[in-house]
């Protein structure tokens, strides 16, 4: 299991990480709003994360830190 942490307040909700995740584990949390007024990306199932860091590679705002 890998650990993915989001600096939620930097997220602009572009969804590039959601599309990049090979396991489809990320989602845009439409019920949340961050400090910038966007709905941020969240991890839906950390148990299944393989720590490939594809999400962080595609994130334009360096929101995501991946540990394994």
């Amino acid at each position: 299991m890998a650990k993915v942490t989001f600096k939620t307040d930097l997220c602009k909700g572009c969804g590039l990480c959601v599309a990049a995740c090979p396991k489809g584990l990320l989602a845009i949390a439409t019920e949340q709003i961050n400090a910038k007024g966007y709905s941020p990306a969240v991890m839906t199932n950390e148990e299944k994360c393989i720590g490939c860091a594809f999400c962080a590679t595609m994130c334009p705002d360096c929101v995501i830190t991946v540990e394994k």
Partner: protein, 251 residues
Amino acid sequence: MAVVFEKPKTLADVPLHYCPGCPHGIIHRLVAEVMQELDIEGKTIGVAPVGCAVMAYDYFTCDMIEAAHGRAPAVATGIKRCRPENIVFTYQGDGDLASIGMAETVHSAARNENITVIFVNNAIYGMTGGQMAPTSLPGQVTQTSPYGRDVNHCGWPIRVSEMLATLEGPEFISRVAVNNVKNVNAAKKAIKKAFQNQIDGKGFSLVEVVSACPTNWGMTPQQALEWVESDMLPYYPIGVYKDRSAAKEEK
């Protein structure tokens, strides 16, 4: 647990002003990661352009200077000639490098100035609101070509990498893209080589990064990256267009 991925320390811990999904953020990070890996942050001087990346000096933690529109390679030439021990790079968009700054670009390449140029090509003027750029594709709808770019009227888009590769001067000319993970990783390798060439004193290195502009293309960020793959890359193929050192080794 070991950290697999985190924000490079050479990128300031401030929110980027770019639109959601703008690949400028990815390209900034790649440049910052390369600076960190080569441990050259302390002696690097970056030259910011006019365009969306005009405030790049707020984001890179190395020394930065802002150039007049298109003149970044000329400013970088001056800095590098006065301070050859420093690493000098420019970060320019297509409206900056391929339009008003074309003369500076071509001549600094022809002189083989020992600088690194990061050229972000997203086929549109982003900061000013989406006007047609010299790199806009035939038929592309922009603010100033609402019926699509008519090549009989506006001419054909310029392939900067191919054009510069015909010059004897430059050391390394490469085109990469940031539309998927594989291409992002390849882009980082090319940018690293461009910086390493300068450290080794080899000369002018330019990396053209095919990027996207979701806001002005009127697409979602993911659609924009798909459009890069389907429409831009066929006109602007990825590849190494000139690598003098590698060509010499082959001989």
